[in-house]
């Protein structure tokens, strides 16, 4: 295996007002350039893990190392490390009133001068990186359009372009296809895989549509109540095991069934 992009040891996390641990991972290692899908039912801890790896969720216990640097449970990572990790949000998290190009340039904020940028000035390098990212996701003709005039699939492309403009070495995608139709979902998954390949970045996608994601990754890590219950090639995860991972908790049975 190539050098590790991320290494977790005895990692646990619980929300301040809750007793149970939402995350309890004894060990996980992801190598550079790997493409991994994080699967599991809602509430399994997928989003929590991704936000933690992005440095936005702290106060965890145990050891977590991302791109060769340990995460500090007490402080956010410095700018230079934050921009090396790109994040694609489920609900896109774009500035709706701004143009596509403006939104993609926002991905350069961690790399450009913090004072000059306040005047709206970006370097040639920033502008070129943004243009390249827009080109890569296939929306060059929409560059000057406002985001609130775009469809869901187009918006997710903008969000991916913003992430790519960061020149990330690790891409974290939190349920990137859950609000898209099946055709757009496949396009976005292919785009994430190809972008990661082209930039030799490691890709970690969370999803609760494992059958759809299987073709775009080389490894599945399944979470159940914060614990890793499967780690291996997608084809090794047979249907019965998958059904177990997505088993409905007993308290969700509908009242009709009770009657």
């Amino acid at each position: 295996m190539a050098t590790a992009t991320l290494t977790l040891r005895n990692l646990s996390y619980r929300y301040p007002d809750e007793d149970t641990e939402i995350l309890a991972i004894s060990a996980l290692e992801v190598g550079a350039g790997e493409r991994v899908a994080l699967i599991g039912a809602s509430g399994a801890g997928k989003s929590t893990l991704l936000r933690l790896l992005d440095g936005r969720l702290r106060d965890f216990r145990g050891d977590a190392s991302v791109l060769g640097h340990s995460l500090d449970p007490a402080a956010p990572p410095p700018r230079s490390r934050r921009c090396a990790v790109g994040f694609v949000f489920q609900e896109f998290a774009l500035v709706e009133q701004a143009t596509v190009r403006r939104n993609v340039l926002n991905g350069r904020l961690g790399r450009t001068d913090p004072w000059w940028s306040l005047l709206g000035r970006f370097t040639d390098e920033d502008n070129e990186a943004a243009a390249r990212a827009i080109e890569d996701v296939g929306i060059a003709e929409l560059a000057e359009r406002r985001v609130d005039r775009l469809s869901g699939g187009q918006r997710q492309r903008v969000a991916i372009a913003r992430c790519l403009a960061q020149d990330p070495r690790l891409i974290l995608a939190d349920e990137p296809i859950s609000s898209l139709d099946p055709v757009n979902a496949e396009t976005i998954l292919a785009l994430l895989r190809d972008s990661a390949l082209k930039r030799q970045a490691t890709l970690l996608i969370s999803s609760h549509q494992p059958r759809l994601v299987a073709r775009y990754v080389d490894r599945f890590v399944a979470l159940d109540r914060g614990r890793i219950v499967f780690d291996g090639a997608p084809r090794a995860l047979h249907d019965e095991r998958l059904a177990g991972i997505y088993e409905e908790p007993a308290d969700l049975t509908s009242p009709e069934r009770v009657a």
Binding site: E96, R102, N106, G110, A159, Q166
Partner: protein
């Protein structure tokens, strides 16, 4: 299980049907009470005002007389009227500038997403109280404090309009979607970059729209400030009407109407530009 026929609902259905009947009854009785209260309010207003329909009929001739006396408009007062309209515009512009400055301070303080409860609640109450004081009263107090002329008018507009504009600014801030800020944070943006590229673009359309709206209101409201000696065209409105110089009132009315329409065309053009 065989489905129960609709005519005889099962034991589980009865309380739900009763609940629905109760809701319908409560809703319609509330509607009835409201209609009754509105009718009572209108009757009370009418009875208390001692309105004599006969007088209204008899006034037709007098209104016609006014209109006849307004023609032809006396254009000799045009320079005076234009100059005082310009003064009204200056009062509205500077008054709006003053309320923008005050609102830029009080708006963020009144935003529930930015400040703790013990800060934003009292500021919101203060703004509501400011909105509750009529402009004409503020203007009279300002005239008493700083003397006659446009200055008390500017101060009155700035004070009075802040009650509304600061509230609007606070709402623009409260309406910001935090998720783009989170995304910028994730990309390595500094705090100021997050404000500049995450929050500001979301607020600008609301802030510009609200400020233009308030400017138009300020302009209309400042037309009457002169009546209490706070500068502008209101002074001449009062003089000409009270001395029955209707041909001068006609000139004044035409200028005011044209003036307000021109300003609305200008502000609408700005709105289109920013859309």
């Amino acid at each position: 299980m065989i489905e129960q026929p609709r005519a005889s609902p099962g034991p589980g259905m009865k309380p739900r049907q009763q609940q629905r009947d109760q809701d319908v009854w409560r809703h319609s009785s509330a509607q009835f009470s409201l209609s009754f209260a509105i009718a009572a309010l209108i009757i009370w207003s009418w009875a208390g005002s001692e309105i004599d329909i006969g007088r209204l009929g008899a006034s037709g001739g007098r209104i016609a007389d006014f209109l006849v006396r307004m023609v032809p408009p006396d254009l000799s007062v045009l320079p005076v009227v234009l100059e005082s309209s310009a003064e009204t515009l200056r009062i509205a512009v500077l008054g709006t500038f003053g309320c923008i400055v005050l609102s830029l301070v009080l708006g963020p303080l009144a935003a529930a997403t930015l400040t703790p409860r013990w800060v934003h609640l009292p500021i919101k109450w203060l703004l509501a109280a400011v909105r509750g004081i009529p402009l004409i009263l503020v203007a009279m107090l300002m005239v008493g404090a700083v003397g006659l002329g446009p200055l008390p008018g500017i101060l009155a507009i700035a004070f009075h309009a802040t009650g509304m504009l600061a509230k609007f600014y606070a709402e623009a801030i409260e309406g910001i979607d935090p998720s783009p800020m989170e995304a910028l944070d994730s990309a390595g943006a500094t705090f100021l970059q997050k404000l500049r590229f995450g929050a500001w673009p979301q607020m600008v359309p609301d802030i510009v729209r609200d400020t233009l709206f308030r400017f138009e209101m300020n302009l209309r409201e400042s037309l009457i400030l002169g009546i209490v000696g706070a500068g502008g065209i209101g002074f001449y409105i009062q003089i000409y009407v009270r001395t029955f110089q209707y041909e001068k009132v006609a000139t004044l009315t035409i200028v005011v109407v044209v003036f307000v329409i021109l300003i609305e065309i200008a502000t609408n053009a700005i709105r289109r530009l920013l859309r």
